[in-house]
């Protein structure tokens, strides 16, 4: 009796210790990376980063390029991914749904460098686009569409069954049901999926190296034969260059990338929390 409860106590302590270790493994590297990168980049932060391009030790072209790529990815991959997830959740038969899900999972398992290389062969070479913003957007988009499809599908399929049945019993048209009944509770999940996907794409390098190359000048509007700069590219290229100023710029670019991703994640959480509250209150 006595020893049994002893064993139980030991087990409980062990369990909590393991939980604490797991937690530490998640938190410590995350904090260390963020703090380390920003601390390293601190000396390099100056107004010149925003006012100059990479041709003259600034990051302006890279920041603008990353923003354009992200917005492009949001518009293209976001639209395709959300519609795809909606289709799988609400329209596809179980068989077609599982086929689509399978392909989406395969796509999500393709390494980003392979996506980049395929993009290079098909867009840059075969279609003759050269290096371009559009090619970069498509390669990045291909990479994150599976995430968006998945999060959208989950968001719709976790809407309570009772809401669905209520709509069906009223004879509501399917689109009315989707827009008025399913979308409000699904929206927070869709938005947070989009934000995380965009955050992932912001941190990608390989697909862009193959499809967008890099440019030291600010992006222009030409869609084709028009290389574009981006933050992760600065880190990638400048770390390989000799010289303290290159290293500083590489660090600064890494820090700005991390900050953008953090802003995205916090922003996404804010939007999610707000739309959750809006549904609860619904003061339309």
């Amino acid at each position: 009796m006595e020893s049994k409860s002893r064993t139980r106590q030991v087990r409980a302590v062990l369990f909590w210790a393991l939980c604490a270790i797991a937690l530490a493994i998640i938190i410590v590297p995350a904090v260390a990376i963020v703090v380390g990168i920003i601390a390293k980049a601190w000396p390099a932060f100056s107004p010149a980063i925003i006012t100059h391009t990479t041709a003259t030790d600034g990051l302006q072209n890279a920041i603008v390029g990353t923003l354009i790529l992200s917005v492009g990815v949001l518009l293209t991959a976001g639209t395709i991914g959300v519609l795809g997830g909606l289709y799988i959740a609400e329209f596809a038969s179980p068989r077609i749904g599982s086929v689509l899900r399978f392909f989406s999972e395969v796509l999500s398992g393709v390494p980003s460098i392979v996506v980049g290389y395929v993009g290079y062969l098909s867009l840059v070479v075969a279609l003759g686009w050269g290096y371009s913003v559009l090619g970069g957007v498509l390669a990045l988009g291909t990479l994150i569409i599976p995430y968006i499809v998945k999060s959208t599908e989950v968001a719709f399929s976790t809407v309570p069954r009772s809401l669905r049945e209520g709509s069906v019993a009223l004879g509501l048209p399917k689109l009315t049901m989707i827009r008025k009944v399913l979308l409000p509770p699904a929206l927070p999940g869709i938005i947070s999926g989009l934000v995380i996907a965009i955050a992932i794409s912001t941190g990608e390098t390989a697909p862009l190296l193959f499809t967008a190359d890099f440019s030291d000048h600010n992006p222009s509007i030409a869609l084709f034969h028009n290389p574009v700069g981006y933050l992760t590219g600065v880190t990638y290229f400048d770390l390989q260059q000799p010289g303290a100023n290159y290293l500083a710029l590489a660090n600064a670019a890494a820090a700005v990338t991390v900050i953008m991703i953090l802003v995205l994640i916090f922003g996404g959480r804010l939007i999610t929390a707000r739309s959750r509250r809006m549904i609860a209150r619904m003061d339309v």
Binding site: L163, V168, L172, T176, K180, P185, M282, V284
Partner: protein
């Protein structure tokens, strides 16, 4: 309190449909889930403008029967329905049956309130607008009329644009009833609508159902025999997917023909 139903401005056709109600005839209905029989060759007629209580022990197929009448099973994979059901002159499982129109004519209220994540006003107005019965402008009046009908108007008239989730559970169920009634159904299917409600709200809904009986056919599943006794004109008693007895309430509760019915009434079964 009693809202003149006919004072609602509507199109001529909606007006015509409004005044009609329909009997529900069930012939040789069987419902199977894979190889399991949930409803076994049931034939029964639910007369128009009457309240029929559907009773029986848990799992005997009451919900399954209700869901056959507005074809909710269409959306449950694995369930097959055979036999014939008519609502008025319409064959529910006919090849050309207009599903959305069928569901407009056959309203359903669920055991647990399921308000939509829209404003209180839109919850009631959404279906009539979707069916083209009222314009957006007329919808406002219809919403008010329905909320008055179910006795919720005073409580919500100052917060029509707020969320239904701020209402109490009983109020939410009344809102769902108003939402269903807004389509002027000819048949009303109720699946234990008051099982989660307090006695006051239950009494309120029972009084409302007695008024609604004037213009629609009502089927109510209930485990509460005194509720069945209070409000029903007829009782259909089921066991294990089979209809055991269908009789007037008076007969069923006082001189049922089948021994199993008498046992059920006296609390020895179910």
């Amino acid at each position: 309190m009693t809202a003149g139903y006919l004072s609602i401005p509507t199109t001529a056709t909606a007006q015509k449909e409004r005044s009609s109600s329909a009997a529900v005839r069930v012939r040789g209905l069987s419902v199977k889930l894979a190889s399991r029989t949930l409803i076994d060759d049931v034939s029964v007629t639910f007369p128009e403008k009457r309240i029929t209580a559907i009773v029986g022990p848990t799992g005997c197929g009451k919900t399954t029967l209700l869901r056959s009448i507005n074809r909710m099973h269409d959306h449950s994979p694995g369930i097959t329905v055979s036999g014939d059901i008519t609502v008025g002159d319409t064959h529910v499982y006919g090849a050309t049956t207009h599903l959305r129109e069928l569901r407009r004519r056959v309203g359903m209220l669920f055991q647990r309130a399921n308000p939509f994540p829209q404003s209180i006003e839109d919850n009631v107005g959404i279906a009539p607008r979707a069916h083209g019965m009222v314009s957006r402008r007329q919808s406002r009046e219809l919403v008010e009329q329905q909320l008055i009908e179910v006795g919720l108007w005073e409580a919500v008239k100052d917060r029509l644009s707020s969320s239904p989730f701020t209402l109490s559970g009983g109020q939410q169920q009344l809102l769902c009833l108003a939402r269903t009634l807004a389509l002027s159904p000819e048949v009303l299917l109720l699946d234990e609508p008051t099982s989660a409600l307090d006695p006051g709200t239950t009494e309120h809904i029972e009084a409302l159902l007695k008024r609604l009986r004037e213009r629609m056919t009502i089927l109510i599943v209930t485990h509460n025999l005194s509720q069945a006794l209070r409000i029903s004109d007829e009782v259909a008693f089921f066991m294990a997917g089979k209809l055991v007895e269908h009789a007037t309430s008076n007969t069923f509760f006082h001189e049922a023909a089948d021994q199993r019915s008498r046992d059920y009434v006296s609390g020895r079964v179910g």
